[in-house]
């Protein structure tokens, strides 16, 4: 335990306001302007917004693909899309939504923007790694979408089972593009996981002990650790697939001793935690919004935190429920049934405590809270149909049918998309400085809610009537056309809802009501600074007196002084009790993440087409990494390890 460098029984000194300080801090912390500034920006707020905007664009693209799918399936024996186009479209829809939208928006976008502010930090930890993560994500997305536009879009399903995705049955480079996109997006997620975990553990405001951490920070910490354990599994799966396809190995060639189930195990060991990586940020947004709009502290803070950790943990023990139809031994399948049922308990705990919080409260049903109720209605259906799927005999009937499609859309859209819109409306004033229009927001909500239920509730029935998934057409004798047509009609409402949202965003950005620092009266630290926050986030790093920072703040809540304003200094605190430990220098804007991502991208993408890309591409990567890591030298008047502080 390091010796505390804050003297006990200190006297609190009144701060004399310094009118020049904001200007000096702004000059120190601001990023460059113009194109150069855009490319080198390491400010977490800018990168967070970039993640959100890029992810939303991919959401729109994935949604267009979904509309195409529903158009094709509207009628039996429809000729709108042939099998090849359809296979590419549904694969791209799934891959875009999961890899290019859900994780980048829910985990990376919200995490990168909100977490440093909620910690009271000036910037995220490892800001250049953060920027690199964005560029690699963008590169992976561009790779796959340029692939689609050049007839090289993957066509083997978003989880690309072998041997269909192997060299014998997927000629060309379509599956290679998918596998390499995995590499890009998973490295990106790992980068952000490292940044967020470090920020949460070491950059929290003094006084924000683990016991006083907002639930959102707990969840982001748990998710970061889940990412670090889960992503390597899919990277192994996709790398072995690439080796099979490009190098001629036999990992998945049954005729030569390879094993197709190996791929499934590796993939789903990642795949199931992945959906919790998508769902837990949603739950964290709910846990943030419910106390705020109920004007009270959340009920059951400790059980909720324990539930989040339990979900993260148990989430690694349920993956075989995706493989119940493969004929694994009954005993092992029963184990995974038990684990899949067990994971309902922590989620149930969270739901019960949210209900308990709302029960005794003064609920102000503002726009973000409307989406929270939508989440309750929608995610519950998905979660409960998940209970059905945990049962092996039932799963052998409904697996790979439209029942499953309905289930996962309910949990993904209910568990991620509804909280996403809630969070976007909630933090919109903080990001832009203006309030979003409540009227347009309500239209958005109802159009989307109604359209979503029309489309996906109907699919439960289609699945029970025997319609398998991933079929580009069906015979009129199957009597699936009425339900399919109903399901397709919901698309109109959802599209209208999303259009209303886009209109709302653009109009409110310029013409919305000006939001002050804290328009919702929320408790967490990001609402203590202006909207939008200045480049340096906080004039003085805040301290925290309780779990709900702004509600528990004293009238003269201390702030931290002593950080220099002529260089970018950040405060590093102890991970458990947040005693200030030392000061760190933020590297500022840098071109190295862009250069590194260009060289890494060129190497990865080139390796799809020729093995020479590896030896030719590696030296530039090494050079950019050397440039990145080159010692910066000390700023003038180097800091000592520990400085005594005065308030």
């Amino acid at each position: 335990m390091t010796e505390s460098i804050i003297e006990k029984d200190r006297q609190v000194t009144r701060l004399t306001p310094d009118p020049e300080l904001p200007g000096r801090l702004e000059r120190t912390w601001r990023q460059h302007g113009g194109i150069w500034g855009w490319l080198t920006n390491t400010d977490h707020k800018a990168i967070g917004v970039r993640f959100m905007v890029t992810a939303f664009i991919f959401f729109l693209l994935g949604g267009i693909l979904a509309a195409l799918i529903r158009l094709q399936l509207m009628r039996p024996e429809n000729s709108f899309l042939g099998p090849d186009a359809y296979n590419q479209i549904f694969t791209m829809h799934g891959s875009t939504m999961i890899f290019l939208f859900a994780v980048p928006m829910m985990f990376q976008g919200f995490g990168v923007y909100v977490v440093p502010l909620m910690c009271g930090a000036r910037n995220i930890a490892f800001p250049r790694l953060n920027l690199l993560s964005y560029y690699l994500y963008l590169g992976g997305g561009l790779l796959m979408w340029i692939g689609l536009l050049t007839n090289t879009g993957p066509d083997v399903g978003w989880f690309a089972y072998v041997t269909l995705s192997g060299p014998g049955f997927s000629p060309g480079h379509r599956a290679d593009i998918w596998a390499q996109m995995i590499t890009f997006t998973e490295v990106s997620a790992l980068g952000v996981a490292i940044c967020l975990a470090t920020t949460i553990l070491r950059h929290r405001a003094p006084g924000m002990t683990l016991n006083r951490m907002p639930i959102l920070l707990w969840e982001k910490l748990v998710i970061s650790i889940m990412v670090i354990f889960a992503m390597p599994a899919v990277m192994v799966a996709s790398s072995l697939l690439l080796l099979d396809r490009l190098v001629g190995t036999h990992f998945f060639n049954p005729a030569e001793g390879g094993d197709v189930l190996l791929y499934q195990h590796l993939f789903w060991f990642f795949g199931h935690p992945e959906v919790y990586i998508i769902f837990l940020p949603g739950a964290s947004i709910i846990s943030t919004l419910v106390p705020c709009f109920c004007r009270r502290r959340i009920l059951g803070y400790t059980p909720i935190v324990v539930s989040v950790i339990a979900t993260g943990f148990i989430g690694f023990g349920v993956w075989v429920h995706h493989m119940f139809a493969t004929g694994l031994p009954q005993l092992s399948e029963s184990f995974f049934t038990a684990a899949s049922l067990m994971i309902v308990i922590p989620t149930g705990v969270q739901f019960f405590f949210w209900m308990g919080t709302i029960w005794h409260s003064r609920l102000q049903l503002r726009l973000p809270m409307l989406w929270v109720f939508g989440y309750f209605f929608v995610f519950l259906i998905g979660g409960l149909s998940g209970v059905m799927l945990a049962s092996v005999p039932l799963d052998t009937q409904v697996h790979d049918t439209y029942f499953i499609v309905a289930h996962f859309h309910y949990v993904l859209i209910g568990g991620a998309l509804f909280p996403m819109f809630a969070g976007l409306y909630f933090w919109f004033p903080k990001i832009t400085g203006r309030m979003a229009s409540e009227t347009l927001g309500k239209w958005h909500f109802w159009l989307f809610f109604i359209g979503f239920n029309i489309t996906f509730f109907t699919m439960h029935f289609l699945g029970l009537r025997g319609m398998p998934r991933r079929v580009y057409t069906y015979s009129p004798d199957m009597h699936w056309q009425t339900l399919s047509a109903i399901a397709s009609s919901g698309v109109i409402f959802m599209t209208a809802g999303v259009i209303v949202f886009i209109v709302n965003v653009f109009r409110s950005r310029v013409a919305g009501e000006i939001a002050g620092n804290n328009p919702w009266g929320d408790a967490s630290l990001e609402w203590a600074t202006s909207s939008p926050p200045p480049a340096y986030n906080y004039l003085y790093p805040p301290t925290v007196n309780g779990r709900d920072a702004l509600w528990d703040a004293l009238p003269d809540q201390p702030v931290v002084v002593g950080l220099r304003d002529d260089i970018r200094e950040t405060l590093v605190t102890h991970s458990l009790d947040t005693e200030p430990q030392h000061k760190d220098e933020d590297p500022g804007p840098s071109i190295w993440p862009l250069l590194a991502s260009l060289t890494i991208s060129a190497t990865f993408v080139g390796s799809i087409f020729t093995p020479w890309a590896i030896p030719v591409g590696a030296p530039p990567v090494i050079i950019t990494l050397i440039g990145w890591l080159w010692p910066r030298g000390h700023s003038p008047t180097p800091m000592r390890g520990r400085e005594s502080w005065s308030h």
Binding site: I35, G82, P83, D84, I146, L149, T150, N151, T152, T163, G166, P167, G168, F169, P171, G172, H173, R174, D244, R245, L246, G248, H250, N253, P254, A255, E256, G257, F609, T610
Partner: protein, 184 residues
């Protein structure tokens, strides 16, 4: 910065128009009007007034990885492996070397398959449709490395010549005990 959206749009248009031939999959080949006329012209020379030599027929099926992969499947299914193995030859000559008895141009190989050859190569006229013969031609040329790498198929999902170590039964190392191993 103002030109950026237009530039991006142009780039997208260029990509769409120049879509990769490698990934082309034409699933439904229009049947040729007359299957009996399946003789290709191999020599580019013609006597008489037409003094401009016509190039020998190229194989449009060599530009798509899908068709070469189809050729790989057909090579197995139509039992070319029965005589030529996986290119190493056996009853028939090897196909993965540089010795081409009748020439290595697409037209030559097409004629070989269609007409048959002396000493045992059957004629597959009327047995294999023309477009599949062209796919086989493309695959055979890929066996000796005549096709660019980006369309050549990778390893097939099937048995190689020698079974892998993990699927051969345990062999008793000879010369150690001299006694035959007991089968349990």
């Amino acid at each position: 910065m103002k030109r950026l959206p237009q530039f991006v749009l142009m780039l997208i248009a260029a990509l769409l128009l120049g879509s990769c031939k490698r990934e082309e999959r034409v699933l439904r080949q229009p049947p040729p009007a007359d299957e009996t006329l399946n003789v290709v012209q191999i020599s580019g020379l013609n006597p008489g007034a037409n003094s401009i030599p016509t190039p020998p027929p190229s194989n449009m099926y060599e530009e798509s990885a899908y068709t070469v992969s189809e050729g790989q499947k057909l090579y197995e299914q139509y039992n070319c492996v029965g005589c030529h193995a996986h290119g190493g030859g056996g009853i028939g000559p090897p196909l993965m070397d540089n010795n081409w008895i009748y020439g290595s141009e697409p037209g030559n190989i097409f004629a070989t398959i269609m007409q048959g050859r002396p000493n045992g190569m059957p004629s597959f006229r009327n047995r294999i449709p023309q477009y599949q013969v062209w796919e086989l031609v493309a695959y055979v040329r890929s066996l000796s490395g005549l096709l660019p790498k980006y369309v050549s198929p990778s390893r097939p999902d099937e048995m190689n010549v020698k079974p892998s170590e993990s699927s051969t039964p345990h062999q008793n190392p000879t010369g150690i005990t001299g006694e035959p191993e007991q089968r349990k």
